[in-house]
């Protein structure tokens, strides 16, 4: 197995206003993030809002540059602050955003959504673009005739399938999934997770899976990186993190995640019964 994506000591600062007439203030969103990810594996990044996980996603997807540190894709150091992103590079890493209601342009037909990456990054002729887009629709569980429809005609789960299809149009090797199922209903979430697993097997995709839901992560990830306030607090294989969490924060997160465990329910029901009988 070869390492396909690597981060070394990545930092990112945001410059924000400190208030009227007070000049600027620097907020460090990422404090030196390091990781390495093998091809075909899934790295989950877990943390609460404001911990920097989406900032990291934007850096990995080559949307924003890092302030310092190295981002290495397939052994090649990438610095988008000094060098423009080429189409080849753009095709390697793609992203699926959290909310499929806001990540699709309501005025763009599904076909245009899917062919646009090809228009911008390749010189594939129109007929071929259409053929590829229709094939991709079938691949993600939609139908060819959806090509000419608008996003509002689809449900949340179907829209997320469209967003996944768009991300796959350039045959990327790495897919950054920024909370891809947290806006979806439980049953639809299961379908989308299954789809992502199938696609990973078929195309040997490498996933960076950003989530705050530990039960999804436990099902989906190979490795887990727990972040808090811009720092990695724990980084280990899935089994280690869930069986034997080391850091206090990881333990807090695990304890806070509600689980549907029959023994725990029985305990709680018994406690409540005793409480109200006393009263």
């Amino acid at each position: 197995m070869s390492v396909i994506l690597e981060g070394r000591d990545i930092t990112r600062d945001y410059i924000v206003s400190a208030g009227f007439m007070r000049g600027a203030k620097t907020v460090r969103a990422l404090h030196g993030i390091s990781f390495s990810l093998e091809q075909g594996k899934t790295l989950a990044i877990v943390g609460e809002s404001g911990c920097g996980k989406s900032t990291l996603a934007r850096i990995l997807t080559l949307i924003d540059p890092a302030n310092s540190g190295d981002l290495i894709i397939e052994g090649e150091k990438i610095d988008i602050a000094t060098r423009k992103v080429t189409s080849d590079l753009r095709a390697k890493v793609q992203i699926v955003f959290q909310n499929p209601y806001s990540s699709l342009n309501p005025r763009q037909k599904v076909g245009d959504v899917l062919t646009e990456p090809l228009i911008i990054n390749t010189d594939v002729p129109a007929a071929e673009r259409r053929r590829r887009a229709e094939e991709m629709l079938v691949k993600v569980g939609l139908e060819r005739q959806h090509f000419n429809r608008y996003p509002h005609m689809f449900s949340g789960g179907q829209r997320q399938r469209i967003a996944i299809a768009r991300a796959l149009m350039l045959n990327p090797q790495i897919l950054v999934l920024d909370e891809p199922v947290s806006a979806l209903d439980l049953s639809v979430q299961a379908q989308v997770l299954n789809l992502l697993k199938d696609l990973q097997d078929e195309f040997d995709l490498t996933y960076v899976f950003i989530s705050h839901d530990l039960s999804v992560v436990r099902y989906f990830a190979d490795e887990v990186m727990v972040m808090n306030a811009g720092e990695v607090v724990e980084y280990a294989s899935r089994d280690e993190i869930f069986a034997n969490p080391q850091h206090e924060y990881t333990k807090t997160l695990l304890a806070a995640t509600p689980v549907a465990d029959v023994d725990k329910i029985r305990e709680r029901v018994a406690r409540r019964k005793a409480l109200f009988q006393k009263a």
Partner: protein
């Protein structure tokens, strides 16, 4: 004793394609000191049925029911005036989006004092003192300063605490919580659920917890009602529901939980249930 009893509630909305039945002959019953969870996916009508009881639906909604009684009193026959005396005082509700449920133009203190004034006639210093007590009860740090804060100055979890403080201001007998933790982080969710359950036990309130999260159901409910497309699929006490779900839809919903994954695949509701249908 039964606190709220609804029999055969149906809610319809007129649409261009004809009437849409959002809630289809639902029965709900909740007693004092009981936590009823209504669980379902979006479009299952779980919020609409409770909004209908609270009188919060737009006038275009057609609501019919054989019976809606609160503490033995017929709510269907009540005038709006009488109903308003009960709602907000004896029955209160908290919503999903804490930040958008508060008025951004007024301080949190003002908004909670308004409730105290409206329902309990408290004014001035008495209202301020009670507001402070309530903020302390729901665990808002630095409550005195927070009374003077505007909602945008608080985090989501703190706003939800303010909403809970407003909801319990008049010691309601029934609290309806509509997805109270969906917009919050897991650690904050845990704090809010612990707070709600603590208050429920302390006051002996009836609590209706509307949620789509089976984990939240497992951690809070005494009894569970499962809804799908406006209909009730199953109702059972929490232990039987998780141990031995009767209805195929409930089974499908539990199988779709990532922690119940068998091998490499998740069962989906479509695999498990639409086939049965």
């Amino acid at each position: 004793m039964s606190l709220l009893k609804i029999r055969n509630l149906t809610v319809e909305f007129d649409t261009a394609q004809g009437p849409f039945r959002a809630v289809d002959s639902i029965d709900v019953e909740v007693s004092e000191r009981e936590v009823l969870a209504i669980v379902g996916e979006s479009g299952s009508g779980k919020s609409v049925s409770m909004l209908a009881v609270m009188g919060l639906l737009p006038p275009t909604a057609k609501i019919t029911a054989d019976e809606i009684t609160y503490a033995g009193r017929d709510m269907k026959a009540m005038s709006d005036r009488e109903r308003r005396k009960i709602i907000g005082k004896e029955i209160s509700m908290i919503f999903q989006e804490p930040i958008s449920s508060l008025n951004p133009s007024f301080t949190c203190g003002y908004q909670i004092e308004e409730v105290l004034h409206r329902h309990l006639g408290l004014k001035g210093r008495a209202a301020k003192a009670r507001a402070l007590e309530l903020f302390e009860a729901v665990g808002i740090p630095d409550p005195e300063r927070r009374l003077k804060s505007y909602p945008h100055q608080l985090s989501g979890g703190q706003c939800q605490r303010v909403m809970i403080a407003m909801a319990i201001a008049c010691k309601p007998r029934l609290l309806i919580a509509d997805e109270p933790t969906t917009a919050l982080d897991v650690t904050i969710q845990k704090q809010i659920l612990d707070l709600l359950m603590g208050l429920q036990e302390e006051y002996g309130m009836g609590l209706i917890m509307i949620t789509h999260d089976m984990g939240v159901v497992a951690e809070t409910a005494d009894r569970v009602s499962v809804q799908f497309k406006g209909r009730k699929m199953e109702e059972a006490d929490v232990l039987s529901l998780f141990e031995a779900p009767q209805h195929p839809y409930t089974r499908a919903l539990l199988a779709a939980l990532p922690e119940n994954a068998t091998g490499d695949r998740l069962l989906t509701v479509a695999d498990g249930w639409e086939g049965v249908q």
